[in-house]
Amino acid sequence: MIHTLAQFREYAQNAPSLPLDQNRAEVRMYAAVTAILLVLLMVEPTVYLLSVPESVYARTMTISRVSFHVIAAIHLALVLAALPHLTDLMWRPHRLGQLWPRAVACVAAFFAACMWLYAATMAYPLDYGLAWLAYFVRAVVLGGIAFILGWSVNAQHLREAADAPR
């Protein structure tokens, strides 16, 4: 229990989720918006592929030679790969110093962008209007998110190299 001011300061230093420093909490929430968008962009195709039987996306992704189970497994893996970073941002900010959630989310975002590009290539010759353009826009957005996450990992590398004891 916290009884003294010194205990409170020590607790506040180890628990950055307390909105003492409003800037840091706000920045974390803005980063969480990006992570939520990343998860949403991968959950939506999974739902449409697995549970909406005659959707445009399901029909686009099932006309190739690759087996349906492989495609569904790739979708689920991409969703799961983006979750550790989101949970760290929302509920466990003291673990944000780790690099692997961001690196895994970056790689997953890049592969998801390639997957949306594949969907755009497959959807263009079919008669679905501008669906290929919608898929292409999602691929570009995911490419931007992957770049943001990789840039954050590189920034931490730079900080660690700068602060390393000589």
Binding site: A103, V107, M122, Y124, L133, F136, G143, V153, N154, A161
Partner: protein, 158 residues
């Protein structure tokens, strides 16, 4: 003198054969598959983005100026993707007539363009050297110093 040249140019421009050739060229261009070309260009650029991401994620390579690295990789991948796209389209046009080779489908073409956009060091080395020179000169002109893009991290004693 200039008036005579302008008049000759105007007379040539109104020559019906030239006008007919220009309009039919526009018709042929409009009928081209530009959406497929745009998606293929995007695939090449995504290969370059993958190369930038790998450089950002590896602990051994520290990137100083990410904007210039990204632009360099996107520029190289655009050129390499265009080269590979033209090669694939040429192969598709001639594969059925010269030999009995199969056509390259859209998904295989996407994978090839991603790989070409990634453009490993041993391939397209001349294009990468040219792009590096362009980036260095641009950085010198804008900032006045050399671009701090490092390929190997100066790891000290850790």
């Amino acid at each position: 003198m200039r008036r005579a040249e302008v008049l000759v140019f105007l007379w040539l421009a109104c020559w019906t054969a030239l006008a007919h050739a220009n309009t039919t060229l526009v018709d042929d261009l409009v009928a081209y598959d530009f959406a497929s070309l745009a998606v293929s260009l995007g695939a090449g650029l995504f290969g370059g983005l993958g190369r930038t991401l790998i450089a950002l994620l590896r602990r051994a390579t520290l990137v100083g100026d990410t904007k210039f690295l990204l632009l360099r990789d996107l520029g190289v991948s655009a050129v390499c993707g265009a080269i590979v796209y033209v090669v694939i389209q040429g192969y598709n046009e001639t594969a059925s007539t010269w030999w009995d080779f199969p056509r390259i489908g859209k998904d295989t073409r996407l994978l090839l363009l991603l790989a070409a956009g990634y453009a490993p060091n041993w391939a397209f080395a001349a294009i990468r050297r040219g792009a590096d020179g362009v980036v260095q000169r641009a950085h010198k002109a804008i900032r006045g110093t050399d671009a701090p893009i490092s390929e190997v991290a100066p790891l000290g004693e850790k």
